[in-house]
């Protein structure tokens, strides 16, 4: 019984942690856009994600972490790839994303629906890290 209560409390804690991460990202992106460091305003949001990238901790209907260019200068494809690579190269961030239930990193431009996708499980190095 208590185990179930702890599980429910964990679930709520995890959800709040997910939204906190997204909020922190959006705040930092907004600050850097306002300061003039970034030419494009980025926004993170939670999406469905790619089903083939799922792992054991994936959240149902919430496995995608999408970074979208909102306004400012449009981004070229190599810039989208660079944004994704910066996130994927940040190992603590990738591990945090995986442990909070994200499985797909998506980077999209503000025009159209095309973008880039990465499977987070390939960049987390979690098994090796723990062993």
């Amino acid at each position: 019984m208590w185990y179930k209560v702890v599980q429910i409390a964990d679930w709520f804690g995890e959800m709040s942690e997910r939204y906190k991460l997204v909020r922190d990202f959006n705040k930092a992106a907004k600050d850097s856009f306002i300061n003039g460091q970034a030419a494009t305003l980025l926004e993170a949001k939670i999406t469905w994600g790619e089903s083939s990238y799922r792992h054991a901790f994936s959240k149902f209907m919430g496995g995608g972490f999408r970074i979208k260019a909102l306004s400012g200068r449009p981004m070229a494809k190599h810039e989208l790839i660079e944004v994704g690579k910066v996130v994927v190269d940040n190992e603590p961030l990738v591990r945090k994303l995986v442990s909070l239930g994200w499985d797909t990193l998506e980077v999209h431009d503000n025009h159209g629906v095309s973008g880039c996708k990465w499977a987070l499980k390939e960049h987390a190095h979690i098994g090796g890290f723990l062993k």
Binding site: A38, F57, P92, L93, V98, S99
Partner: protein, 141 residues
């Protein structure tokens, strides 16, 4: 005895008449709920069997508690997204080991260059390496 038999016969006919009239919709909802239950059980089974084949299925969730509590420096992440490629290009050009051939700093330059290549998308570390290059390799930026 005759009355009792008659009574039983009338009771059964009344029950069958009742069941014919009333239990037909009941049967429909009953079978619908059975079908729903079967579908739910199938989905639960499929979900659980799928989870066993997924990546990290051998890990316990408690093992990842530390990763969950990691504090991420979002300011550094934004700087890395916006400025790290330029800084990396500048550093890799100025700290390239070929510029220090036959000098006492050649090994140090190689070491710093390797670190620059490893952390080329981490702005914070690139800034630290830049300061190290200024102090140890006497480079002006």
């Amino acid at each position: 005895m005759k009355y009792i038999l008659l009574q039983i016969k009338t009771d059964t006919t009344a029950v069958s008449a009742l069941s014919n009239g009333v239990s037909l919709p009941n049967n429909f909802w009953f079978w619908l709920s059975i079908i729903e239950l079967v579908i739910i059980l199938f989905l639960v089974f499929k979900l659980s069997s799928k989870k066993k084949n997924l990546a990290f299925s051998d890990l316990n969730k408690d093992n990842l508690k530390k990763s969950k509590e990691t504090d991420i420096n979002m300011g550094n992440l934004m700087n890395s997204i916006n400025n790290s490629s330029e800084l990396y290009r500048e550093l890799s050009r100025k700290c390239h080991p070929d510029r220090f051939v036959n000098s006492p700093n050649q090994k140090l330059a190689e070491e710093i260059f390797q670190e620059i290549a490893r952390d080329k998308r981490n702005h914070e570390k690139l800034i630290a390496l830049k300061e190290r290059a200024i102090v140890e390799l006497n480079i002006t930026f």
